[in-house]
Symmetry: C2
Subunit: 201 residues, 2 copies
Amino acid sequence: MTSTTARPGRVAKLPPRERILDAAEELFQNEGIRQVSVQAIADRAETTKMAIYRHFTTKDALVAEWLRIVAAGYQDAFDRAETDHPGQPREQILALARFIADGLPAISHRGCPFINSLAELPDRSHPARQVIDQHKARQAGRLTGMCAEAGLPDPEQTAAEITFVLEGAQVSTQNGSIEHAGERLLKFVEGILDRHPLDAP
Amino acid sequence: MTSTTARPGRVAKLPPRERILDAAEELFQNEGIRQVSVQAIADRAETTKMAIYRHFTTKDALVAEWLRIVAAGYQDAFDRAETDHPGQPREQILALARFIADGLPAISHRGCPFINSLAELPDRSHPARQVIDQHKARQAGRLTGMCAEAGLPDPEQTAAEITFVLEGAQVSTQNGSIEHAGERLLKFVEGILDRHPLDAP
DNA sequence: ATCGAACGATACTGGACGGTATCATATGGG
DNA sequence: CCCATATGATACCGTCCAGTATCGTTCGAT
């Protein structure tokens, strides 16, 4: 019963900072950054605007923190791909494609947080931009490494191709121009990897 | 000398409606929709806010009109691809890829207007959304038609793949994660088409 | 010359929003 | 038991902005 911390009125409530981040994630993702007011985040987090400004210096800082969490999720996907398929770079790449493909239905009519944020934050000096830039660079590096490890002839080109495909699948899902984007995405990536068979032990 | 209409003080000034649309194109593209105020558009168009509201019922209507013009530009690219390479669907597709690839440097750090607008306008009832949806559907249809005409075994799949690639190249250029995106894009699309040779006379 | 429509400039309204100040209220460790 | 700290609630400020009203001016057609 009496847990050491957090014994709220009814349901176990998370501490305010996490509630705020959960609410921000939900609202930023579904309604955009600029459209969502700090007050709206506070309402959804069942707290107040003041509480938000106690944990985050500014709205922009909250946005950056949100994207940092999203980026960490993608990093986890990379890590899992590597630990689940050690020494099998092609399987790792396919696992990443599956991760994106599986996420498409959830994204549905609202797209990739990074793509959308970039559109909403043209100012290159915005704190969130550093998060995005770092994440994209790291992601590109890891993917290129996987392609090189897979013995593909031109790792940079193949990594670029896979990046195009993954990003494009998310965009096309968002604008609804492609049916069965997930399946098509997987089929496509498999085809790219099969162009240069080499993996078999 | 004395042209029939428009004899402005110094430089030949376009009529206000076109100046407004030019200014809107410039600002919406480079700074985003929500960030740009009607006043800012008026300033850049060397006119006044009032003049804008004489030509467009609302800011949203101006956004929609802007996207209509952008969509027409893409339609023109499709038309040119067809008339420049009649009966050669593979050349038509390559011409489209070249059109996108050539546009990448201009886009550079700011991305595709449709992708960005979608991010900034989550409200599906926004007038601009109809423009985007129609455009995307028409574009997908035409591309699928080209793929079918090219005798590719699975036109829907191939059209989806090419769409992924074209969209992804624009996104990747925007976030700066890929070097030489234009060249890589063309190489990629050529590879896709060459997977099923059939075109030669 | 004149009339009307389009254009330009300025001021205003009403609302939304980021951020702050100030109050009261828990809460948990000493 | 008590006090520092985190939290909650509310009111407020300055600013920005979409959209409107009203004025005067230009300019082309008749």
